[in-house]
């Protein structure tokens, strides 16, 4: 079963992973990606990160990404959790967990989902640094990562 959650509350990676892996004894692999907040970006200290999103579209965009992953690979469940609001260094930001019978499909689908999320889901990061606030710029490397999956 696929599940999407956009939330301000922290999440429990172990509990989510456990719920996913226990959905079916046919599952042989669970791959998880956890993105967490760093205390430095572009060479500057970052004290707080505030994540904004487009309620409504965010969930639809994530659902479209999961649907495409399901079309490309034989998967047995996906969980995506993305936090919004203020975050501190070491706070988990995003979790992508993918279950499949064998590891190859779960590894590929997990990387595909996070690559697409980074370029297609309407989230924006604003950093608070000792020098003031700044919006994070989109990264060319993220566009390249997404393009690898084009077909």
């Amino acid at each position: 079963m696929n599940k999407i959650s956009v939330q301000s509350e922290p999440f429990d990676l172990a509990a989510i992973q456990d719920a996913l892996r226990c959905e079916s004894p046919a599952i042989g692999a669970v791959v998880t990606f956890l993105g967490q907040m760093r205390d430095i970006n572009e060479g500057e200290a970052v004290t707080t990160l505030t994540l904004e999103h487009y309620p409504g579209m965010t969930e639809k965009a994530l659902q479209a990404i999961l649907d495409e992953a399901d079309q490309r690979w034989d998967l047995m469940g996906i969980q995506v959790v993305h936090r919004v609001g203020p975050l501190k260094p070491l706070d988990p930001i995003v979790l992508v967990a993918v279950a499949s019978a064998h590891r190859g499909e779960a590894f590929q689908a997990c990387e595909f989902i996070i690559d697409y999320l980074k370029t297609r889901a309407p989230f924006w990061k604003k950093e608070q640094t000792p020098e003031g606030e700044r919006w994070v710029d989109a990264r060319v490397a993220d566009d390249r990562a997404e393009q690898r999956w084009r077909r």
């Binding site: 993105g35 994540l51 904004e52 999103h53 487009y54 409504g56 579209m57 639809k60 965009a61 993305h82 930001i93 995003v94 996070i114 999320l117 980074k118 370029t119 297609r120 889901a121 309407p122 989230f123 924006w124 990061k125 604003k126 919006w135 994070v136 710029d137 989109a138 990264r139 993220d142």
Partner: protein, 84 residues
């Protein structure tokens, strides 16, 4: 009406989160809408300048400058996304 939404840096630069714009048949595509917004001058002409990268979603789906518009549409403008 067209319901307009602005997010992140755009919302701050325009000092506007949302607004309702009277729909007219002249608003055939996103390009026509952008031209109307740019003509407001000030920060509007800067944000919607030709050289700026602005993304658009029509009814919560990624769109483009050629996306058609209709009465009642929700149109959102925002900078390139930076989640994950």
């Amino acid at each position: 009406m067209i319901n307009l939404l602005y997010f992140a840096r755009l919302r701050e630069e325009l000092d506007c989160a949302d607004e309702a714009l009277e729909y007219t048949p002249e608003l055939g595509t996103v390009a026509d809408l952008v031209a109307v917004l740019r003509a407001r001058g000030g920060s509007w002409s800067e944000v919607f300048d030709e050289g700026e990268t602005v993304m658009v979603a029509v009814n919560q789906e990624m769109g483009g400058i050629d996306s058609p518009l209709a009465d009642g549409d929700e149109v959102a403008f925002f900078p390139p996304v930076t989640g994950g």
